[in-house]
Symmetry: C2
Subunit: 211 residues, 2 copies
DNA sequence: TAGATTGTTAATCGATTAACAATC
DNA sequence: TAGATTGTTAATCGATTAACAATC
C-alpha cells in the first residue's frame, strides 16, 4: 500500500526474499492464491508478520482469498530488483569465486556475471565457463566501459577492503562481500555481507547450546 | 559475566562473529588491547552495543585499557564453537558444493570436510580435492560411522528438504542451507540459511533505493 | 591522583504480535 | 448471507542506545 515509500526495514527485506522463494514455487504449481496464514505456516512466522511485511509493497490481497500468486511474484521481484538484469563481476578466482561465477541460481535471478578478475599470474588467462580471468589492474577501465553495477568480492579478508575500494572507484553501485572482513564504503554504495563462513560459526554456537 | 547463560540473541551472535574477525586481525598485529570504542568504530556500531554484547560472554575487560586481545579471541572462539574441529559433509557436488568442500576458510575455522555426496551418476566417483564424490544413498550409514556433526546442503531448492531429512536421520546436529528453500527441522537440530543468493536480492533492493 | 574505559541500569527506539473492523 | 481473510491500529516485546557509577 505504501508502495514506493522504501524505508523497508532490513528484517522485512530479508523476509521478502523468503516470500518470493515460496511464491515462485507455488506459481510453478499453478496455484493461484496464497494466504498470509499459509505463508506464515510454511516459513515459521505469524500471519500478522506476513501481512505487516506485505503492507510495505505495492500489492493488495483480496479478502477471503489471500494474495494472487503471479501478481505477488511480479511485485516482489520488482521490489527486490530481480526483474531486471544486473551486470556483475567477480573479483577473486579461487574456488569460491569460480563457483559463484558459474552459479546457475545467480543467472536465473538476473545476476549476469560478465567478468572475473584475479591478481595471481598463474590464474590470469584461465577459463571460468565462458569467461577468461583478467588481471585486477584492468578492472577499473573495463568496469566503466561495460557498465558493471555489482561487484562480488571473493578474495581473502586481508585484500577485501582494497578490492572494494577499486570496485567503488570503478563505479559499481553495490558490493556482495564474501570475505569475513568488514568493508567501509561511501554512502552511495550498498554492501551486503554474505556470511557463508560466519554462518557456520552461528551454527556451531547454536549446536553447542541446543538440546 | 553471565558466562554460560546462553540465551544469547541471534543479533548478538552475528556481531560476535564480527568481533572475532577483527580481534583475530589485531592479535596477528601483536596488539595487546582493544577497547569497545575501537571495535565500534571499526565495525560501525556504538561502543555501548559492543559492551552490552560482550557482557554475554565469559570475559571481562579492564578499566582504562579495554579487552586483552588474545584472551578475548580465545573466549569468542569458544563461545562460537570454533575452538574445536567439526566433522562436516557437503551434499551436492555442483560448482558451489565443490567450491565449499575446498574452501580454505572453512578448514581454517575448524570445519573439516570429511565427505561429499551427490546423486548424479556422472559426478559420483569424481575427485574433489582429496575426497571422492559418493552416492547420496550411502550417506546415512557413512555419516553415522564417521560421526559427522554438520551437513552443508548445496543442492537445488527443490531437493533441499529431502536432503535435510536424510542428514537429520543420519544424525547430524546442524545444517547449513545454501539453497533458497526453507527447511523444516526438529527442535534438536539447528539450521542456518546462508543466503548467498538472497543477499544479492537484498543488495539490489538497497541499490534501487540508494542515492 | 586524574582520566579513560568498563559494566550495568534505565530510557528509547523499533520490530513483532494481537486484535478487530472492513470487505469480498 | 456467513465466514474467511485482509489491512491497520494499538499493545507488547525485545534490542539498541544513553548515562553514569565503579574502577584500574
Amino acid at each position: 500500500m505504501k508502495g514506493m515509500n522504501h524505508a523497508v526495514p532490513q528484517a522485512v527485506v530479508q523476509r521478502l526474499t523468503k516470500y518470493l522463494a515460496h511464491v515462485q514455487t507455488v506459481c510453478e504449481q499453478q496455484i493461484e492464491w496464497v494466504s498470509s496464514g499459509e505463508l506464515a505456516a510454511t516459513l515459521g512466522l505469524t500471519s500478522s508478520t506476513v501481512r505487516q511485511d506485505l503492507s510495505y509493497i505495492d500489492f493488495s490481497g483480496t479478502s477471503k482469498r489471500g494474495y494472487e500468486t503471479t501478481g505477488l511474484r511480479r511485485v516482489l521481484r520488482n521490489t527486490l530488483g530481480c526483474d531486471k538484469t544486473w551486470r556483475t563481476v567477480v573479483v577473486g578466482a579461487g574456488n569460491l569465486g569460480r563457483a559463484l561465477a558459474q552459479h546457475e541460481d545467480f543467472a536465473r535471478r538476473g545476476f549476469q556475471i560478465v567478468g572475473i578478475f584475479d591478481n595471481s599470474e598463474s590464474i590470469i588467462g584461465s577459463k571460468v565457463g565462458n569467461l577468461t580471468v583478467q588481471a585486477v589492474r584492468l578492472a577499473p577501465k573495463w568496469i566503466g566501459v561495460q557498465k558493471v553495477e555489482i561487484g562480488i568480492i571473493a578474495v581473502p579478508s586481508a585484500a577485501a577492503q582494497e578490492v572494494g575500494d577499486i570496485l567503488i572507484a570503478s563505479g559499481v553501485r553495490g558490493l556482495l562481500n564474501l570475505s569475513l572482513a568488514h568493508i567501509v564504503v561511501p554512502r552511495h554504495v550498498s554492501v551486503i555481507d554474505s556470511r557463508v563462513v560466519a554462518s557456520l560459526m552461528e551454527l556451531t554456537h547454536a549446536i553447542k547450546f541446543a538440546g
